[in-house]
Every structure is written in C-alpha cells, then in structure tokens.
C-alpha cells in the first residue's frame, strides 16, 4: 500500500473493517443464523476496486487475530472475497440487481474455493464452533472429510454471501452522488443524466 491508494480509499478502509466487525456483532445480538461479516470487504471493493477490498479483508482478519489467532489464516478467504468483488465491480457488477446477483455467485464460489481447503488442510476440517457440528453430521453419515466440509460450507455460506452482497448493493444506492464520485469506482453508480 502507499501513495497510490488516495485519501478517500485510505479513510474508507477503517470504516469498512469496522463494518465487518459490527455486522458480525449485530448478527449475534439479533441471533441470526448467518455471519454477515464481510459486508465491509464487499463494500470497499465495490467502491474502490480489488486492492481496497483486499486490504479490508486482510486487516479485518489480522485484527481478529489479535484476540483469536486461529482466524488469521482465514484472511486468505476474506482477501479473496475483496479481490473477486473488486474485479466484478470494475466490470459494473454492482450497478444492477442482476449484476449484483452474478457478483454474489462469484463471491460465493471464491469462498468455497478458498475456505474448504483451508479448513481441511490446516484445521482437519474444523471451522469455528457451531458449523463443525454440521461437518460432524456429514462425517457420521459416512461422507469423506472433503465432502463433509464442502457440504457444511455450502449450507452455512450460500445465503450469507448472497445477503451480504445485496446489502452492499443497497448501501451504495443510498450514498450521495457527490460522495460516490470521489471514490475510484463511484462514477459507475451515479446516473449520467445528472452529470
């Protein structure tokens, strides 16, 4: 990172990391069966591109790691989400509902591709607390470890990533045009008619 980021991006990053944290906290408060802890990563990626998204993903997990070091390796997943969301955003992936739906599929896919091998190879198939019960269930049903973790991941991540992507989409719609225009990808979300 360095001078090329631009002040808007530099100041957006801490906010987006805080969004990741607080999103996760509100979920616990409301007892929701999802994580919603990458909304900030997706939002940063949508407004500034893959680099901003990747930094938010990385620093989120590094800071989580201060109290829970086990989460540090999962930075890979969060960074990958930022990069994929950012690449989609560059192609206009958050401009329409349809585009957002496609983006959410891409984000979901990259989570599966990165999280499943990490969980199996580094942690013997265990990812956090509750979801490991699901993995155990599939194992007891006679599935192999990879298959069990993959099935678990599909159950836990699918709805979560779709909702997260759409929340980012709706937030962008509510940001004022003059603010949007100051972000590197902001002009994608401002109607040309008002230009």
């Amino acid at each position: 990172m360095g001078k090329k980021l631009g002040m808007m991006t530099i100041l957006l990053i801490p906010i987006c990391i805080a969004i990741n944290f607080v999103g996760g906290q509100i979920v616990t408060l409301l007892k929701l069966p999802v994580y919603l802890d990458v909304i900030g990563t997706i939002l940063a990626a949508a407004l500034t591109g893959p680099i901003g998204g990747a930094i938010v993903g990385l620093v989120t997990n590094l800071i989580l790691g201060i109290t829970n070091p086990v989460l540090i390796p999962f930075a890979v997943v969060n960074v990958a989400v930022g990069i994929v969301a950012g690449l989609c955003a560059q192609k206009g992936g958050f401009r329409t509902v349809k585009g957002t739906a496609l983006t959410s599929v891409a984000i979901w896919a990259i989570v599966q591709i990165t999280a499943v091998p990490l969980t199996v190879i580094l942690f013997g198939g265990v990812a956090g607390g509750g979801s490991s019960v699901i993995t155990g269930f599939f194992l007891a049903a006679g599935k192999g470890l990879w298959e069990a973790v993959f099935s678990q991941s599909i159950i836990v991540e699918t709805v979560d990533k779709i909702i997260s992507t759409f929340i980012a989409f709706f937030i962008i719609k509510r940001i004022g045009a003059s603010t949007l225009l100051k972000f590197s990808l902001g002009s994608k979300y401002v109607d040309e008619a008002t230009e």
Binding site: M7, I10, L12, V22, P69
Partner: protein
C-alpha cells in the same frame, strides 16, 4: 504514558516477533506434539506469568482455541479413516491415528496461536506500528491499523444507540427470523452512510494535518532498539540453526 512495563513488554516489538516466529516454525517442523504441549505451552504461560498476566492470558488462550481444538479431537478421533481403535465405547470407536494426528495439529495451533496471543498481550500496538514503520512500512499502513482500532468500539457503541432508537420507534428486534432479519438493515445502514459521507471532511482534516506530505515521518513516542534486543534475535537464530542441524542432519 510511561507506566511500568514488564520484562517482555520492554523487548523491541520486531525482536519479539522474530522470537515468536522462530518458536512457531520450530513447533511446526518438529512435528512432535510433546514439544508443543510440554515445552512451548508451559514456556508461554510462564512468560505471561512473568508479566503478571497469568490469568488474563490463560483465559484468552482458552477462549480463543479450546472449542476449535475439542472439535479437532472429536472429528479426527471418531472419523479418521484408519482402523486401529484406541478406545471403544459401545458403538463409538476412537481411532488411535486420529487422536495422534489431533494431538499434533492442536499442539501446533496452541504453540502458534499462543505465541501470537502473548505477543499482542505484551506489545503496545502503537509501538508495534512504529517499529514496522521504522522497518519501512508506509505510514498509511500504520494509520489504517490504528484508526481501525479506534473505529471499531466507536462503531459498536453507535450501533447500540441506533438499535435502542429503532426499538423506540417500534422496529422489532426480537421475534421470528424474518422480523430479526429485517431489523438488521436499519441498524447498520444509517451508521455506514453517515460515516462514508463524513469521509470527505475527514480527507480535508487529514490534509490540514499534513498527512500526505512526502517526508520521512518522525515519532513523538520514543522507541529504541537496545543491545539486548539484538542479542535476543541473534540467539534465537542460533538456537534455530542448532535445531535444524539436530533435526535434519544428525
């Protein structure tokens, strides 16, 4: 500002980081769970105790890793594809290889995770950032990290205030799943929108404080490398080399 520091807190952050990395890599390469469980773990707890942080450290350790490690034992022990049974309870068989592999894995998790926890337990984060900046990291990186650390609790506090306000306005935050799902959006979005709108003025604030000025930054905080910091790094490397020779050559 200058409260009395413990022995480990006095070590230069990057020297401490090197020692911890060496310890962690050794634990991974050694591969014997006894090294992790009987040498690294007691050593970490001992060092924490030296700092007068025995209780807070062990509590954090347990909070961060115990659930995960328990699940590793369960999943590996019960579902390892090997045949040799260690214990048999009715129809449940605990696999010997599974338990051995769980011991290896958890010993590494405890060594690595425990080292990282100890590092942050005994390191002032602002000092850590300064040491990274002195080692060549951009002040932007340090700004992002420290700014985030202040932002998270403020954000959490504000979202709680908003939650109470939303409740007062009649938005349900309890009830069935759909009701609770619907509550999520109004709790988070006003906060996000206002924070993002504020960025414009914040940019002006930072420029007024010469943030983007392209010079070598200085630090009001004093952070010096002492001879002992070099000694620590060099001696941990020597021990590491001895370990490598013992493990792979002899």
């Amino acid at each position: 500002m200058n409260k009395e520091k413990g022995i480990i807190s006095k070590i230069y952050p990057l020297s401490k980081l090197v020692v911890i990395m060496v310890l962690a890599v050794t634990a991974i390469l050694w591969g014997d769970y006894r090294f992790g469980y009987f040498i690294v773990l007691p050593l970490l707890v001992f060092l924490a105790a030296l700092e007068g942080k025995f209780f807070s450290y062990t509590k954090k350790m347990i909070g961060a890793m115990i659930i995960m490690c328990t699940f590793i034992f369960i999943i590996k022990g019960l579902f390892d594809p090997s045949d040799e049974i260690l214990w048999q309870f009715a129809f449940i068989g605990v696999k010997k290889e599974g338990i051995e592999s769980a011991l290896r894995l958890t010993s590494i998790i405890f060594s690595l995770g425990g080292s990282i926890l100890l590092f942050f337990e005994t390191t002032d984060l602002e000092d850590f950032m300064i040491s990274l900046q002195k080692a060549g990291m951009s002040h932007v990186g340090s700004f992002i990290f420290l700014s985030t650390l202040q932002m998270i609790p403020q954000f959490a506090k504000k979202s709680k205030v908003i939650m109470q306000a939303q409740r007062a306005r009649g938005i349900e935050t309890e009830g069935n799943l759909l009701v609770r799902m619907k509550a999520f959006f109004p709790m988070l979005t006003p906060l996000i929108i206002s924070s993002i709108t504020d960025i414009e003025d914040k940019v002006i604030t930072m420029e007024a404080r010469a943030f983007s000025v392209d010079v070598k930054k200085t630090y009001l905080r004093v952070l010096n490398i002492k001879t002992s910091d070099y000694v620590i790094v060099v001696s941990s490397f020597i021990l590491f080399v001895i370990f490598l020779v013992w493990r792979y050559i002899v």
